[in-house]
Subunit: 207 residues, 2 copies
Amino acid sequence: MLRCQGSESEASICPMSQPDRRYEVAAAAWRVIVREGLDRTSLRAIAHELGCTTGVVTHHFRDKQALMLFALDQVTQRLTTGMAVLQREKMLERERLVAMLLTFLPQDTERQEILRVWVAFLGHAIGHPALMAAHQRSAAQLRAVVIDELRALQQAQQIRPAVNPAVEANVLLALVNGLGIDALIQAQCLDSQQQAQAIRQYVESLR
Amino acid sequence: MLRCQGSESEASICPMSQPDRRYEVAAAAWRVIVREGLDRTSLRAIAHELGCTTGVVTHHFRDKQALMLFALDQVTQRLTTGMAVLQREKMLERERLVAMLLTFLPQDTERQEILRVWVAFLGHAIGHPALMAAHQRSAAQLRAVVIDELRALQQAQQIRPAVNPAVEANVLLALVNGLGIDALIQAQCLDSQQQAQAIRQYVESLR
DNA sequence: TGCAATAGATAACAACTGTTATGCTACGGT
DNA sequence: ACCGTAGCATAACAGTTGTTATCTATTGCA
C-alpha cells in the first residue's frame, strides 16, 4: 500500500512521500463540516468520521487551526484545478470563461460540498483575522485566473478593449459567489440553467 | 425610565411593553460576534459585553438558539427598514433601486457590521437546518422588496417589459451579496464607488 | 401596606473542547 | 538482529460551554 503520487500542496515541504494521510483527514473534516456544522467539527468527530481516533489528527497536524487552514486550502485547490482543466480542454472563447465561472456554482454534489465548506469557513473567518487572511489569499488566487482569462479573451478580440479585466473579474466572481450562496440557501428562485444564463449574459455584455 | 416605544418584531408576541431588553442583548451579541467570532460568542461573553451577568440573557431568551435567531432576525429587520426608508424618500427611478441595493454593501461601519454578522450566521447555518431556514425566510423577504421595486419600475416604463422581475431581483441580490463579501474579505480590488458603478451598470442594462 | 411578578445575580452541573503526554506496534535501514 | 522512527491509540488535563435552580431586589398593582 505504498502509493507515492506526488502531492503539490503548499504545505508539503515536510518529508512525506506517502499520499499524505492529511488529505484523508481533511476530507473527513469536510464531511463533518457539511453534515454537522463547523461548530460541531471537533477533532473527535473528525477522527470518528475517519474511523480512527484523535491520535491520527494530532499526529499529522500541529494544531486544529493547522488542520482548518489545510482544509480551507483544499477548497482553493479544487476550484483552481477545476478551472485549469477547462483552460486546457476547451477553445479560447467567451463560453470557456462561462464554463470556468460555473465551477463556483453547486451544479453537482461535489461542487455543493465545496461551496458549503467555503461558506462555513467564511463565516468562521469573521473575528478570526488569520482565517480571513487565508480567504484573502484564496480569493486573490482565483481572481488571478479569471483576470488572465479575460486578458486572453481581450487579446483574441473576444471582448471589448475598453473592458478592465481586473474590475470585471471582480464583478464576475462576485456574481457567481452571490448566485452560489443563493442556491445554497435554497432560495430556489433561480435554477441551475437560469444561473448559468445570468453569467452568460454578463459575459456577453463584455463583447 | 419607562420608555414605551412599540417594537414591531416578529417575536414580540410576549407581553412586553418595555423597549425590550432583548434588543440590547442582541446588540451586544452582534458586537461580540464581529469582534471575537461566532464560536467565541458565549452567553458569558455577551453578558460581559452588556455589563451584566448571564442571568440577563437566560431570563429574556429561552435558549441560546432563540437569542441567535432573534439576532439574525435583527439583520433582516435593519436591511428591510433601510430599503423602506429609501422607497419613501426618493422618487421612483432606476437610481432609487440602485440606492436600495447599495444598502447591502459595507459603505459605513454600521453596514459593515450588519454584513459581518450576516456572513457569520450564514456560515454557521451550514449543517444547521433551522438556521438555514431562517436565512431562507430572510432572503425571501428581501427579495420580495426588490421584486416589488422592479415591478413598479416596469410599470413606470423605466425598465423593459421583457425583464422578468423575479429573475432579475435574484441576480441583483446575488451581485450585491457577492460584492459585499468581496469587500469583507478585503480583496480591495474594487472600491466603494466601483462597486456602486457595477450595480448601476447592471440596473441600466435593464432599461 | 402588602402581594406578586419581573429582572437579575450567583452558583453548580454535566458535557464537551483542544492539547499534551505516554504507550504500543510495525517497518526500514544498518 | 537491532534500533529509531512513523503511525496511531489511549487517557488525563484544564478550560469552556449551555443549561438549570435558587436567591435577592425591585417594581406595579390592589
